[in-house]
């Protein structure tokens, strides 16, 4: 488990940058509080509907942070040095991803905790909601690995805006149905909307796993693909 030493370093690097950590956790929670008064304008502004979208918006920030730290290190002499250690590409990707998993869990707990105080209700199994969102969070971190392994430190923020747009148009802020046409088809092909469909179906409709199985595996499949692609791209960068 040599990569755990590098994961520890990345964890320290992250929590010694309190601004980005505070934003990743505080911003989604803050948004839920800001939107709370809008609940009277319709059910799509109710915390039960909003919470999954907001927490996914928070995950997109993990894409940014994890992608940035990898891209930054890749351009520095430090990663050259680390690459001379007997670690493989999957060790590196694991070491750069792991520190963000606790943050994703905290994001889910904080948003849903505040949501509960504001009237959020889960009709179905709360554990299932957590599982879907948790896997989606790993997918977003995997996306960060792709960004960090492929793009430069300057390019990552630009590409991340595109990831954010996918999150917004993926139904995080408003129902995907109102978009229609090409946008809806595109979003249906990607995993972000599926995680929201699954979470909302369990929260609002009280459905069980079998009813969200397609959405669940869609999200899980993409998460695996994101990580596999991240490892593939990083491996290509290990030896020039």
């Amino acid at each position: 488990m040599r990569f755990m030493e590098l994961a520890k370093r990345n964890f320290k690097e992250m929590y010694r940058d309190p601004l980005s950590l505070g934003l990743a956790i505080g911003l989604p929670a803050g948004l839920l509080l800001v939107f709370q008064p809008l609940g009277k304008f319709g059910s799509t502004w109710h915390p039960t509907y909003l919470a999954p979208g907001i927490v996914i918006f928070g995950f997109a920030m993990l894409t940014f942070s994890s992608g940035m730290i990898l891209a930054k290190d890749r351009e520095s002499a430090l990663l050259s040095r680390l690459l001379t250690a007997p670690l493989r590409a999957n060790d590196f990707i694991s070491a750069y991803s792991l520190p963000y998993i606790p943050v994703a869990i905290i994001q889910i707990v904080v948003v849903f905790g505040i949501g509960a105080l504001l009237g959020l209700e889960i009709a179905g199994n709360a554990g299932l909601v957590f599982l879907v969102l948790f896997i989606m969070s790993i997918g977003y971190i995997g996306l960060g690995m792709i960004l960090g392994a492929f793009f430069t430190e300057k390019q990552v923020p630009i590409v991340w805006i595109a990831v954010n747009l996918l999150t917004i148009f993926g139904g995080a802020w408003f129902p995907l149905e109102i978009m229609g046409g090409v946008i809806k088809s595109t979003m249906d092909a990607l995993p972000f909307a599926h995680s929201l469909y699954a979470a909302r179906d369990v929260m609002l409709g009280g459905v069980g796993f079998s009813d969200i199985a397609i959405d669940f595996y869609w999200v899980l499949g993409y998460t695996i693909v994101f990580f596999a692609l991240g490892v593939f791209l990083f491996r290509r960068r290990m030896v020039e």
């Binding site: 590098l6 370093r9 002499a77 050259s80 040095r81 690459l83 001379t84 030896v239």
Partner: protein, 314 residues
């Protein structure tokens, strides 16, 4: 067969190793055999290909052709085995800025698979050796350039590698820090195989068992510092310290000795044979006040100049 004998007494062997970047041939078919425990220096100006060789040996760059072995392991076929044997202090200071010195050393020891206790003990020794013990708990972004460089070298040593690459370890440091790092490197001589790249002649001269002079991706000379200097003993260097040296006088001398270099308060004349009295007799009637004349010892700079036609620090 133990790991240390796998290389048949050679820690590093390169076999016509080359690397091209587009049309540029950065390393051109280099063959090297470096013995275990040897301190081997690669000397050459910026862009000569030294760092490219090091990067290939550290499995960071793929050779365009040829290959190399480290302790018997092929750098292309078995990079993980190679990486277990080596460590590097890269040319740029490579440290994690938000960690303290302890944490940086622990990171390097850990990723090389060392036990926590072993890393702690070794880190204590290295911090002491590099004079960083008092600041070991400060985040390294607060360190001076010299301290960062010393830590960067310590990080290469914490894994106790059999083969250590030091790429321009003293580049950009003040003379005092440079000397201190030389002392630390000298202490490692014989204990590890060290490959040191530098463009400081004094560094290679003082530390290396053998030197390869590299220019435009090729080895142009290889030997001990003494052997390299002896290889051009058929050359004399006369140093004339004088006042009122006019350009006319210098140009006149250049017609006899093409290699006349202006130095502070005088000139340096290089030739296979310099007739000292003839030089003095030529300069005096031109109003030049000669203060002293002397014969200069041949340096590696002279060797480099003769072999490549260039100054090392160009």
């Amino acid at each position: 067969m133990t790991e240390s004998t796998r290389g048949n007494g050679f820690a590093i062997q390169t076999f016509s190793i080359s690397r091209e970047f587009g049309d540029l041939v950065a390393v051109n078919s280099i063959d090297l055999s470096i013995k275990e425990g040897e301190l081997f220096s690669m000397l050459g100006p910026n862009g000569a290909g030294k760092t490219t060789v090091i990067k290939m040996l550290c499995c960071l760059l793929r050779p365009s052709s040829g290959t190399a072995t480290i302790m018997g392991h092929d750098i292309q076929k078995d990079p993980i085995a190679v990486k277990k044997m080596i460590d590097i202090s890269p040319q740029e200071t490579a440290i994690a800025e938000h960690l303290n010195a302890w944490e940086n050393l622990s990171l390097m020891g850990g990723i090389h698979g060392f036990e926590k206790e072993g890393v702690k003990k070794r880190s204590e020794e290295l911090l002491e050796l590099m004079g960083l013990t008092n600041r070991a708990k400060d985040q390294v972004r607060k360190y001076s350039g010299g301290m960062k460089r010393r830590l960067s070298i310590a990080m290469a040593l914490v894994s106790d590698p059999q083969v250590l690459f030091l790429d321009e370890p003293t580049l950009g440091l003040d003379p005092q820090s440079r000397r201190s790092i030389w002392e630390h490197i000298a202490e490692l001589k014989g204990k590890k195989t060290i490959v040191l790249t530098t463009h400081y002649l004094e560094e290679a001269d003082a530390l290396a068992d053998r030197i390869a002079i590299i220019d435009e991706g090729k080895i142009v000379a290889l030997g001990t510092p003494r052997e390299l200097k002896d290889s051009i003993t058929d050359m004399q260097v006369m140093v004339v310290k004088a006042k009122n040296l006019t350009s006319d006088a210098i140009e006149g001398l250049r017609e006899i000795y093409p290699e006349v270099k202006e130095i502070e308060d005088g000139i340096e004349i290089k030739a296979k044979e310099v007739n000292f009295s003839a030089v003095v007799d030529y300069l005096r009637p031109k109003g030049v006040e000669i203060e002293s004349t002397s014969q200069k010892q041949i340096t590696l700079d002279d060797v480099f100049l003769q072999l490549t036609g260039k100054e090392l620090r160009e």
